[in-house]
Symmetry: C2
């Protein structure tokens, strides 16, 4: 648990099959020592706002445990979720002033933070870190662009299926499982949060979830426990034979 916090982001070290793990002793040893000195922890309760849009943001950091959402809001209240932060995800922009989004804790949340100034200085003396952050940011950019396709061109049913596929895949890789057998996981989002993610209303989300359940694409125990009997089928429903990279 403590170990996780040493990571500055999702994992991707070449031949290592593990991605999205919060820690990998082999390739992060150097970062670990460097970051040790300037790090500290912050905890948030479910529902708490971690960062307000427009905040100064004097730190960067990564999620240790829990889930947070990244949202943008218009003056009239319309909101769009633009990212989901899961354990090992990085928050903040070295070299930039403020935040453009609200970051809200969806569950209880622990973050490992680094004061921004020292972190930036460290980036200059440790090229490895800048490159690592670049890789992570490129991944996020790919994910955001993939999501643009979902938002712009998919139907409500496809949107729901896409979101479920992404969460299911991420959950599976996080637990070092493949996507062959049935997948079981807990939905970390309310219907309303899903709607904000998908550019829909919560009623439409509810209807489409019910429809997917009725059609046997998913099974529900309660409102949050989801079973995907056939992941390939879900991908078809998502209109997506390729990868659902969001959160990747």
């Amino acid at each position: 648990m403590l170990q996780e916090a040493f990571s500055i982001g999702s994992h991707d070290c070449g031949d290592c099959p593990i991605r999205h793990r919060a820690v990998c002793a082999r390739c992060e040893a150097d970062e670990l020592e460097l970051l040790e000195e300037i790090k500290y922890y912050r905890s948030f309760e479910a529902g708490q706002t971690v960062i307000w849009s427009g905040d100064k943001m004097d730190f960067v950091g990564s999620v240790v445990s829990g889930i947070a959402t990244l949202t943008q809001t218009m003056e009239d209240g319309r909101t769009q979720m633009v990212g989901l932060l899961l354990p090992s995800d990085f928050v903040g922009r070295p070299g930039r002033q403020g935040s453009a989004y609200d970051v809200v804790a969806t569950t209880d949340l622990v973050m490992c933070c680094f004061r921004k100034k020292p972190f930036e200085q460290m980036m200059e003396t440790t090229p490895h870190i800048a490159q690592r952050l670049l890789q992570m940011t490129l991944d996020e950019l790919d994910a955001a662009r993939e999501w643009m396709l979902v938002l712009g061109r998919k139907t409500a049913r496809e949107k729901i299926a896409s979101l479920l596929a992404i969460i299911a895949r991420r959950d599976a890789t996080l637990h070092l499982r493949g996507t062959d057998g049935p997948l079981v996981f807990d939905l970390p989002l309310t219907r309303e949060a899903m709607a904000d993610y998908l550019g829909l209303t919560l009623e439409t989300v509810s209807r489409q979830v019910s429809a997917l359940k009725r059609d046997g694409v998913i099974e529900l125990q309660g409102k949050r426990h989801v079973t995907i009997p056939d992941f390939g089928r879900l991908l078809e429903e998502a209109g997506d034979d390729s990868d659902g990279g969001m959160l990747a």
Copy 2:
């Protein structure tokens, strides 16, 4: 013109008021010398595909002149534009294998390219470059996320206004003008391309452009020459008092 090619991306050097310029002698002198040795040029005609989704991508580079689009396509043909590449924009992902999108030249296009391997080696020995790329990628990520709000939550009219605002602003800053007086520029996109950008059909784009014209928000000479008499009014129509950062 040749000078522009030395740049590896949009400009942002602190107190310098110039952004989005392709070159800035002051702060890029070091990059210039380093990159000189491994760069070469490629030209494309309007309509040509620069990179196919899935290509190996053995180079990275930046746009010198002309415009290209970044698009994703579903198997059934639905397409979503996920980015617009204007002069000084960077293309490619150091450290990554292939491209996830199609890159298509919208106008005649000149790119300044660097073979990927040497470029990556150079990144390791020249931390400045990785950091610069990180800044650019963070900007792109912000832009992509801002666009997610447009795609997910805005009406057709607001979408059109948002796109026009973004192009107008980028055009103004590129020519070192403010956004106070009337803005005049050429639309670099067909109605169909706009539709692909906005997640709409070309008919809806046409209707809403006509409506904005009828309501005096924009003026049109021909189909492509646009005049924005009041930029603030346009931003209101976009549902957006803050910045339209896409392409920023």
